[in-house]
C-alpha cells in the first residue's frame, strides 16, 4: 500500500499545493462535518506543543474523528526507554493516522518507514513543520489571491526560524522576491541562500527595519528574536528593539500587505498593530485549522472531489 504520510512539503509540486489549498478552502466554508466518522486520529506529542496539538485535535474533532494520544512524553513508555519504532507500531494497531511531534530531527520520516498507516509530521526538532508551512501558504494565498510574484519580507530570527526556512523552500516555484531583515547574528544561513541561488529565487538582505524598508512588502513575516540564541548578550541588547513592528511603521505600506507571525509573539509586534487592517496573525492561526483538516483528509485518501460532494456537512 502506498504510504501517504506527510513528512515534508518542501518538494511538493505546484498542482499538489494548489490541490491542498483548494481543499482547505472547502473546509473553511464548511469546517464541521462527519467525513471522518469512525476514524481514530492519534496525536503523539513526544515534545509538548499546545498550539499545534490543539489545532490538529480540533481539526480531527470537527471532522467527526475520535482522538487518542498524549501531550506529555513523561507520561508515556518512551520515558521508560521504549523505542520510537515500538511506540509507533503499537499505536498503529489502534489508529488510522498518527500526528506526531518529536524533538529529534528525522523522527517523522523514520516513523513513516516503520508503519503502514500515514504519519503527519507536526514538527521534528528544528527540521520540518509542514502543517505550519501549509497554513502559511494558505494565509498568503487567501489574502493575496495568488502565490505568484510576491514580495515577501522575513524579519527577525532567520537563522533558527524553522518556519521561514520551510516557507522559503515551498515558495520556490512561485517567483517570489524575498527580503531577509535580520541582525547579523541571526541572518539567513548560507545553505538557504545557496538554495535560493540554485532555484533562481531573488533575495535581498538588509539589517534596517524601518517604515521605508518595508514599504514594498506584500507579506511581512515576523519572527521572534530570542535572547537564548545570542552568544553575545550585548549584541542582543543592541538589536532586541530594532526588530519590533510598531503601528507607526505601517504608514507607507501597500494596501494589500498582511503581517504574519507563527505565534507565540512576545514583544516583536506591538499590541497597537493588532488593530491595523494589515494584522493577520490571529486569522493565520485560524487558517491552521482548515489547512490541518485538509492534511488529515489527504493522508487518509479522501479526495478534493469527495470533500466537495460531501453529504456529511453539519450546518
Amino acid at each position: 500500500m502506498e504510504n501517504r504520510s506527510i513528512v515534508s512539503i518542501a518538494d511538493y509540486r505546484k498542482d499538489k499545493i494548489q490541490y491542498l489549498l483548494d481543499m482547505a478552502r472547502e473546509f473553511e466554508t464548511h469546517p464541521n462535518r462527519e467525513l471522518l466518522k469512525g476514524k481514530v486520529v492519534a496525536t503523539l506529542f513526544f515534545e509538548p506543543s499546545t498550539r499545534t496539538r490543539l489545532s490538529f485535535e480540533t481539526a480531527a474533532n470537527r471532522l467527526g474523528a475520535k482522538v487518542i494520544g498524549f501531550s506529555d512524553p513523561k507520561a508515556t513508555s518512551s520515558s521508560k526507554g521504549e523505542t520510537l519504532k515500538d511506540t509507533i507500531k503499537m499505536v498503529s494497531s489502534y489508529a488510522d493516522v498518527i500526528v506526531m511531534r518529536h524533538k529529534l530531527e528525522g523522527a517523522a520520516l523514520y516513523a513513516s518507514e516503520v508503519t503502514n498507516i500515514p504519519i503527519i509530521n507536526a514538527g521534528d526538532g528544528s527540521n520540518l513543520h509542514p502543517s505550519q508551512t501549509m497554513l502559511d501558504l494558505y494565509s498568503i494565498y487567501k489574502t493575496q489571491g495568488t502565490l505568484e510574484n510576491l514580495n515577501i519580507y522575513m524579519v527577525g530570527d532567520l537563522k533558527y526560524g524553522r518556519t521561514v526556512h520551510s516557507l522559503l523552500m515551498s515558495m520556490r516555484t512561485y517567483n517570489p522576491t524575498f527580503h531577509f531583515i535580520a541582525p547579523k547574528e541571526l541572518e539567513m544561513p548560507e545553505e538557504y541562500k545557496l538554495y535560493c541561488k540554485q532555484n533562481g529565487i531573488k533575495y535581498i538582505e538588509q539589517q534596517d527595519f524601518t517604515e521605508e524598508t518595508i514599504a514594498d512588502a506584500d507579506i511581512l513575516y515576523m519572527t521572534r528574536v530570542q535572547r537564548e540564541r545570542f552568544t553575545d548578550l550585548m549584541e542582543y541588547e543592541r538589536v532586541k528593539d530594532a526588530y519590533v513592528l510598531k503601528a507607526n511603521m505601517l504608514g507607507k505600506c501597500k494596501e494589500n500587505m498582511k503581517i504574519l507571525h507563527p505565534l507565540p509573539r512576545v514583544n516583536e509586534i506591538e499590541y497597537d498593530v493588532d488593530d491595523s487592517k494589515h494584522a493577520y496573525y490571529f486569522e493565520q492561526a485560524q487558517n491552521g485549522l482548515y489547512a490541518r483538516e485538509a492534511l488529515i483528509c489527504d493522508v487518509l485518501g479522501i479526495t478534493l472531489d469527495e470533500v466537495r460532494n460531501d453529504r456529511t456537512i453539519i450546518k
Binding site: 523505542t83 520510537l84 519504532k85 518529536h102 524533538k103 529529534l104 530531527e105 528525522g106 523522527a107 520520516l109 523514520y110 521534528d124 526538532g125 528544528s126 527540521n127 545553505e191
Partner: protein, 144 residues
Amino acid sequence: MMVAALESGSVIDHIPTDKLFTIAQLLELENFKEEVVIANNLDSQIMTRKGLIKIAGKFFSEAEINKLAVVCPNIRLTVIKDYQVVEKRQVTLPDTLTNIVKCANPVCITNNEPMKTVFYRMDTQTLKCRYCGKEQKLKDIKLK
C-alpha cells in the same frame, strides 16, 4: 620490494600513505589468520607514494567495499583467484550508503534510536543524511 604472489585473496592498492593504517584498523587486520602484507611509501606513478595491503583468502562484500570508499574514495581493489586477476576495479563512493556512516548531528533520530543510517552522495566530498537532512563533508565523517 618483493612480496610473494597471492594465490587467492584481495589487494587494496593506491591507498594514500596517511590513510594506510586507518584502513588496516578498519579491516581489523589483526584478526586475520592468513597472510597479510601491509606496505607503505611505495613508488607510484599516479600518486608518487602509496600504500598497499594484500590479504590472502579474503574477498570483500559490497558493504565492506563501501566502507573503504568512505575512508579512501579512490583506492583500487584487485581480486585474485588461482594466481589470476579475476576483478580489478576503482572503488568509488556509491550513491547511497546504508548503515556505514554515523550522523554528526546529535539530535538526529539515527543517533537516538536503534536503526540503520542512510546517507546520500551529494558530490565527491559531501554526504547528506536521509533523516535529518544535514550535509557532512567526507573528511569529517565518522563510521558507525
